[in-house]
Amino acid sequence: MVSSKKLKRLWPIAGILSVVIISIQFIQVPVQNGKTTHPINAPEEVTKIFRKACYDCHSNETKLSWYDKVAPVSWLVNHDVEEGRSRFNFSTFDTLSATDQQVRLWEMVNMALAGKMPLNSYTTLHLAAKLTQHDVEVLKNYVVSISPTKYHDSTQLKSAEEEQKVVGDGSTTSKNIPVAPNGVRFIPDYKNWEVISTTSRFDNHTMRVIYGNKVTVNAIRNGRIKPFPDGAAIVKVVYNIIEEKNGEVHPGAFNNIQIMIKDEKRFPESKGWGFGKFNGTGLKPYGETAAFNTTCYNCHKIADETGYVFSIPLENKDLK
């Protein structure tokens, strides 16, 4: 039993708390819903999944429960919705180019497969938003269906042929070192590094030869990848592919070079990784501003188990 004396002492505290809780309700304006101008164009069974699992944060059709509107929970909700809409917004999704839509959709599926999305903090209170195994399968099949294989693609064959002529001339070395908007410089010396892996992709029909400098290779061999040490650098050389019906996949023309450099001081907001992408044989730096680094990092979060690097060699136990 609480004595009446103690109760008397608790009254002022409860009063102050009530005033504080009521006051904080006015600090932030609750989430506002905008218009749905260019909604995602996908089959019904796919959009149904997006609606139940993603729309509250990734669209202009956010549906708030009463507790989502009460501060301080509402602050967290506001932050998540703002962040979610800034990454991609299903209400304006069709304004993105077909390629950008494809990239986003594959990222979504991989975020879901990695268990990163929808956020645990969200599904704890919104149980219906949890993805079932069937949902994930539907999404996987959908992204494969929007990225069809063109066998023996004559356009790819032609551009690969034309590129071979240039290789024959031996006139492909670039004199000026291109620099990405975040200061990451192209590294021509990657050709003398070791290859850490090679990948073949059916999402965007490309392949990669992936090089690591000494720091990277030593870190992988010694199991010191969480985190990778400062000075690690990775160069991914990306090519289009020519796919044949009999299963053969040949490299096509050069597409781009992607770079990751590890420098904790320079890139503290992306776990120390600085990204760079250089397009075409002219190695044109990708990105208008340094902000593109965040886009790269956001996707690489999927690979946090391997130091934010997707394509490092498998562990021995996974080699079959």
């Binding site: 070791e194 290859v195 030869v209 199991g223 490299p251 999927i302 997707f310 079959k320």
Partner: protein, 146 residues
Amino acid sequence: MIRMKIFAMVLCVIAGSYGCANNSYNDGRKRIVYNAHGLKVITSFSDRKQQTISLLYGNALALQSAKTGIQDKGELFELVTFKQADNKYWYGSYINGAVQSIELITSYATDKNVIAFKYKILQGQVPGDADARIKSIISHRALLFP
């Protein structure tokens, strides 16, 4: 004294078994970066039906001939064929897994000064005879590495 010896022996056994257990754990978690001993990549290709993914390495002369199509003596090609594995962190990507086979080709000049090739399988089994393999491997053109 005897107690000390027994204690030391028990300690050794414990340390030894711990070491073993520890090693097997570490070996499973280790990752191998294929050691090409300084050879450079010429190209990479894969086969979705065979579920293989390959890297063709070469010395400077092999790389040169893969660029120009003109063979010379002293070329060294190393074709490493890996099993294709799923990329654990990216649905949509395959990555090289365990090494399935390693083939080696060297070029030399015959008495009549014609370029000829020697073929050797260093690891695994490969379908097709030596001549067919030589023809196939040296026919690959070099990738563009800007």
